[in-house]
Symmetry: C2
Subunit: 502 residues, 2 copies
């Protein structure tokens, strides 16, 4: 943070007041992150009930502060005094205002109702999925859809309710823009995916049988993550059911993975993905903790970083030319498994009904499906009852077969049960952004030369400067424009997929 | 909790109000316990600064509530309505009142000053200890001593300031009572310790050389803890620099230990000790979380449980007759090391200058030393400057030699730097209580027969009923009286030490 001399103490004072509140808010939320991380990693089962009470208490305190009169006053005071301040301060105030207005536009009653509905829905969804019984989940989803529409009306939108929900995850991005990108992607993706699946089926590269010891996987993963720049003095890797990355505060960004003794690449690609998220969080300006200038900007940008290191780096030939010898030291089974076969294994493609099991070549088809269904739900073009058949029709059109049941169809994802409508699109935005950023970064000859010999220091420096340093002071599309010279587009991503899979 | 029918809804209402506040307070504190546990186990080094800010924020919220007008009103209301309520409710209200009065007797300014002083003192102490330079620590200790005296005056006491400080850890127990017990102990302890050290030196039982694999230690420790009744669905064992046990909420009581590859008994006795603390916490009435009836009563009772399982059970012959074969399976080095030698190893005694390295036979001499010094400090009989020489004189008298330097003398413990004057005595009270409770429990023939064949289910049941179930509804001396028939005394402990060491 730079403090301009003009205005002197009084300017410092108002800046301090709203910024202090923002930092306090972030500290409270970071306490929630610690106990949330513990819940996913080390919490003994009997502690689950009390943990929910702890999380509820701390979330309520964070929300209370973020919609308080104290916050409103400090923000108003700062805005009134901001004329002529430095651009970073102006951006911070603009983003704090955006957040405050969105938060206060929802009445407390609605926030509580939404939280209760999704808490009940999560249980119902888990049961419905286990039994593959959509009818159990339908009334909950109807309620969550109503709440999402109600929120959208309160937040306001230009064209359609989805706009207002997408704003939660990808600010200043319209549904129409996303739809235009996805419309360009879809026909090409279908062609690429079909080709990749066909080639993969002909190849059938099968990893030598395990066990791949968990200890060796941990050693290998940590060496790779560290070599890419992940700072273990400010982070760690633990085990959880689902891989994730979370920031517990400045200097404490942790990730998790899970281990499959039959395939070490499962935990490794989990770690590569989360390392991308972790490098972004570790690269945010640490002194600006709690301010927009010290925060990540959007899910589509966050996911660009995870996909960059997972796919563009981690599935590349130079990466494995460097790391395969060390993998062979850790996992003696690989001794007679040629590098070419290994590359085919980590790039295999198949049509799976399950999104989280999908590979790089087919993943976005799952997202396009969900985006279309959500948009039609919110527009009222399909009812909740019609979701299973709409899902299956669209799935058949995209993948050429119908999921065996709703468990492997419209009940597979947790997102809707958490009220997370509008979220899915950001996964594919992340894929587009990753390719576009990687292409732009490689225009720098030092980056390109480094990538060829699997030395990614210059690539990370480029991301630090163009993606991490701005924090949330730029809208995602503006960040992409500044970093790459163009707004988010599909060409770099399609070029990447074509060159890797066709 | 039983709710009497008399009084109906209105009685329920006031009970609920103060009890709800007490539970909320405990929930807030338990959030502090989670992030405190993480600080000692998994926090990456760069996260330390922010963790301090998180802990400060959450502690302030807990304190704020505990001294609030809301609390005062709800408590007053409940007391006014309590006539004729059940004894448990009466005890809960009495203890909540005791806590409230103590907390509110200290002005906010003093609490902040004490917290800042001990925060600075901890750093100064760490440096002073490393350099063995008492002069660096002296001004901090002087300030902490002044603050302790100031607190004692505000809290009030019958005979001497130490009374008021001891009350923090061992309520309703006077300095004179402790001094009388220690005066009885001292001559006998010196005799026993000298005999034990002499015998041990003649025997020289040396454990076969390591490495004792950490994985095998973890397996063995967990099997032992589980067999004693520690519930791993409501707890876990992690690694930390210092072994400790902490309750993170009902259903979540965790312990830590540390591993020495040259001696597996180091981590094991850490686990046995913490298992005792853990069994107590897991045995408290879970539905009364946050109320005195669901809380531990004092450090002297807490320590009685850790010492019981560590020393009376874990260093007994029947215990090892059962577990030694399994230890030999885990640690092949023990194959030719006879059980008698092993027992001599875990009962070895020597005069060490360091309290935390002291064995069962010499431990209490360290406590008697500290109790005497603290009492004289608080009475103004010695100045801070005189502490090193007072310490060394008393140490020479008790142990027959002088510590090589203050690092191994009066600077060795962290307690004073945290403002924890009055704490040390509870370690020895725990030893006395453990022996007295164990003796009383064995008057039950099922308990005695179980202990003979290393089956401790009946012993645990006895502790559950007599020590854990009352929570903090009885004063520690009354709990001892009810459980054993006598107030805290020295005879059971001395008899135990004599029979084991002479």
């Amino acid at each position: 943070m730079n403090f301009f001399a003009i205005g002197g103490i009084s300017r410092m004072t108002w800046r301090m007041r709203i910024f202090d509140l923002a930092r306090r808010h972030a500290t409270i939320r970071s306490i929630g992150s610690v106990i949330g991380w513990d819940q996913e990693t080390y919490l003994p089962p009997s502690g689950a009930g009390h943990r929910a009470a702890q999380l509820a208490w701390i979330s309520a305190r964070a929300h209370e502060l973020a919609v308080s009169g104290e916050w409103r006053d400090a923000l108003g005071e700062a805005e009134a005094a901001d004329v002529g301040a430095d651009p970073e301060t102006t951006a911070n105030l603009r983003e704090l205002r955006r957040g405050f207005d969105r938060a206060t536009r929802l009445p407390v009653e609605l926030v509580a109702r939404a939280s209760e509905a999704s808490s009940l829905a999560k249980h119902a969804w888990a049961k419905a999925r286990a039994d593959s019984d959509f009818a159990t989940f339908a009334p909950h989803l109807r309620k969550l859809l109503d709440i999402a529409r109600e929120k959208a009306e309160l937040w306001g939108y230009a064209d359609e309710p989805y706009d207002a929900l997408l704003e939660n995850y990808e600010r200043a991005t319209s549904t129409a823009e996303v739809a235009a990108l996805f419309d360009q992607l879809k026909p090409e993706l279908r062609r690429i995916a079909a080709g990749a699946v066909e080639r993969s089926a002909a190849r059938r590269a099968t990893l030598p049988p395990g066990p791949y010891s968990v200890a060796a996987q941990q050693r290998f993963n940590a060496r790779v993550a560290e070599s890419l720049g992940y700072d273990f003095t400010a982070g760690r890797i633990d085990t959880a059911t689902h891989p994730f990355c979370t920031s517990l505060g400045p200097g404490d960004v942790r990730m998790t993975t899970r281990y499959d003794e039959n395939d070490f690449t499962s935990s490794l690609f989990g770690v590569l993905h989360e390392t991308g998220h972790g490098l972004y969080e570790q690269g945010l300006p640490r002194d600006d903790f709690g301010l927009p200038s010290g925060s990540s900007v959007s899910l589509g940008i966050h996911e660009s970083q995870s996909r960059l290191w997972e796919n563009h780096v981690g599935r590349s030939r130079p990466f494995w030319e460097k790391w395969y010898p060390e993998a062979r030291e850790c996992f003696p089974q690989l001794a007679d498994f040629p590098l070419e076969e290994f590359l085919a294994h980590i790039r295999r493609a198949e049509f799976s009904p399950i999104r989280v099991e999908a590979d790089e070549a087919t993943y976005d088809l799952h997202i396009i499906l969900r985006f279309g269904i959500e948009r039609r739900m919110l527009r009222g073009e399909i009812t909740v009852e019609e979701i299973p058949s709409a899902w299956n029709d669209e799935f058949r059109d995209l993948f050429g077969f119908t999921p065996a049941d709703d468990r492997r169809g419209c009940l597979q994802d947790i997102h809707w049960s958490m009220g997370g409508l509008g979220y899915f699109a950001t996964y594919s935005l992340g894929n587009l952004n990753a390719a576009q950023l990687f292409e732009a970064a490689k225009r720098d000859t030092t980056v390109a030369a480094g990538c060829k010999r699997a030395d990614y220091a210059a690539l990370l420096r480029w991301m630090r400067e163009h993606v991490h340093a701005p924090g949330a002071t730029l809208d995602p599309a503006d960040l992409m424009r500044q970093a790459t010279g163009s707004p988010p587009a599909t060409d770099a991503y399609l070029a990447h997929l074509r060159s890797r899979y066709l």
